[in-house]
Symmetry: none
Subunit: 237 residues, 2 copies
DNA sequence: GGATCAAACCAATCGTTCATTGGTTTGATT
DNA sequence: AATCAAACCAATGAACGATTGGTTTGATCC
């Protein structure tokens, strides 16, 4: 119990002690993959504090934007999920890979165009870093993730909320279903080198603030992806 | 049972008899407020037919777009609901008219392209009718509505669920906010004649199955809208 | 008196279970 | 060949209980 603890350990107030403890849990990577924190009751028992104290500490962390809470669900690290994801999950079931690719082919060149017109020097530097990570990635899985991050960054830099939502929609559908494995097969060492070169061209066009060129480079890149996906589906449908 | 029915009442085949009966149920207002039809098993018993016959009739009605079905849920009159509206309402607040217009300029030409590649003769006929209605509309309000219907029809004919969702998102945002009045001002008798001519060009390109031309015509049309909107905002911001 | 805690209750959510419903196959009947 | 009846599959929804954050109350300890 708190009251039995020696005086010299009680310099800092009770809420601060709990707050720092939880802050440490959040900042360190001690959480499950979904970012879920222990329940308030569990934290209280663990930290030998009352639930009210734990809640006050969580209030602070929530105000700082480090966690978010939802009644009946739990407490999670990071920011609350975007409502776009729910919509994506709902329509993901009746969208096939080819039509998702078709939609990308419509939207992403336009995003690259906008991106070229609005990117700052910092933005371009960030894109270069992401392309580098995609290039250096060890496994095919890892390359896939960095590639996704690159495309997402371009969409974000484009700076149009509606277009970003549309992109997120497609991206969520693309990530969360059963044809991951097909794309996986479509990514061989040769294609990866090809993709890297195409990424370079896209970023160069963006760096030159040449919107149409960026759109074209993106379109070619996606067409390559499209072709490879189709081939791998024909091989083993 | 069917087999006990007198010969002279059996002129029409069994599936047609069931189809007409169900069609009547749907077209009359005999359904609950949610548009739910009786279950297939119930209909089969009611119409003294087998479930397979009922299903064939429902297949026809579904192909005609009069009903939609969902496994585990039921059969309903009309078109399947679109969950996009909620998301649109959520993000509508932080989207300004110009960026919505920008998003249209990215997406709708692509939709026109797809539409040109997939439209049937019936589709084109429907588009012509809508353009005519837009032309003949009396008030500026009415013209606005028919114009929206035309653009929506093109998006639907394009036949890509994700792109349709993206379009619906923009459309909902466009409809449901405070700058309706600005667009209203931007629609004068002169501009209306201009818009009609542009609609014609779009539909002609679609009818000729010329995707790029349709995309171009749509892009020009939207740029005109864009310019007029900008002007009317400069006049009275 | 202020701070803390324990307990109890409310409300939202999730997992489970079970009935319902469309989707599909099979074999019998006419 | 067409139709039907039956059985099964898969997805959905309603109902229930357990869990979790949100809130209140009264006791306890400085």
């Amino acid at each position: 119990m708190l009251h039995n603890r020696p005086r010299d350990l009680q310099e800092t107030s009770e809420p601060n002690r709990v707050l720092q403890a939880i802050r440490q849990i959040v900042s360190e990577g001690l959480l499950p993959s979904d970012g879920r924190l222990p329940t308030e009751r569990h934290l209280a028992a663990e930290l030998e504090a009352g639930r009210a104290s734990v809640r006050r500490a969580l209030d602070t962390l929530e105000a700082e934007g480090l966690i978010w809470r939802k009644q009946g669900k739990g407490t999670f690290a990071g920011q609350p999920p975007d409502p776009t994801e729910e919509l994506a999950a709902q329509i993901a079931s009746d969208v096939d890979p080819l039509s998702a690719m078709e939609a990308r082919l419509c939207i992403e060149p336009a995003l690259a165009d906008l991106c070229a017109r609005r990117a700052t020097a910092d933005d371009v530097a960030r894109l270069r870093k992401l392309a580098e990570r995609t290039h250096d990635a060890e496994g095919s899985d890892s390359a896939e993730l960095w590639d996704g991050a690159l495309h997402r960054a371009i969409a974000r830099i484009a700076g149009n909320r509606l277009m970003l939502t549309a992109f997120t929609l497609i991206d969520e559908v693309r990530m969360g279903d059963d044809w991951q494995e097909k794309r996986h097969r479509a990514r061989t060492p040769e294609t990866r080198a090809f993709y890297d070169a195409q990424h370079q061209k896209i970023i160069e066009a963006i760096d030159a603030r040449n919107g149409p060129a960026a759109a074209n480079a993106m379109r070619k890149h996606l067409e390559t992806l499209f072709d490879n996906l189709r081939k791998s589906m024909e091989d083993r449908p």
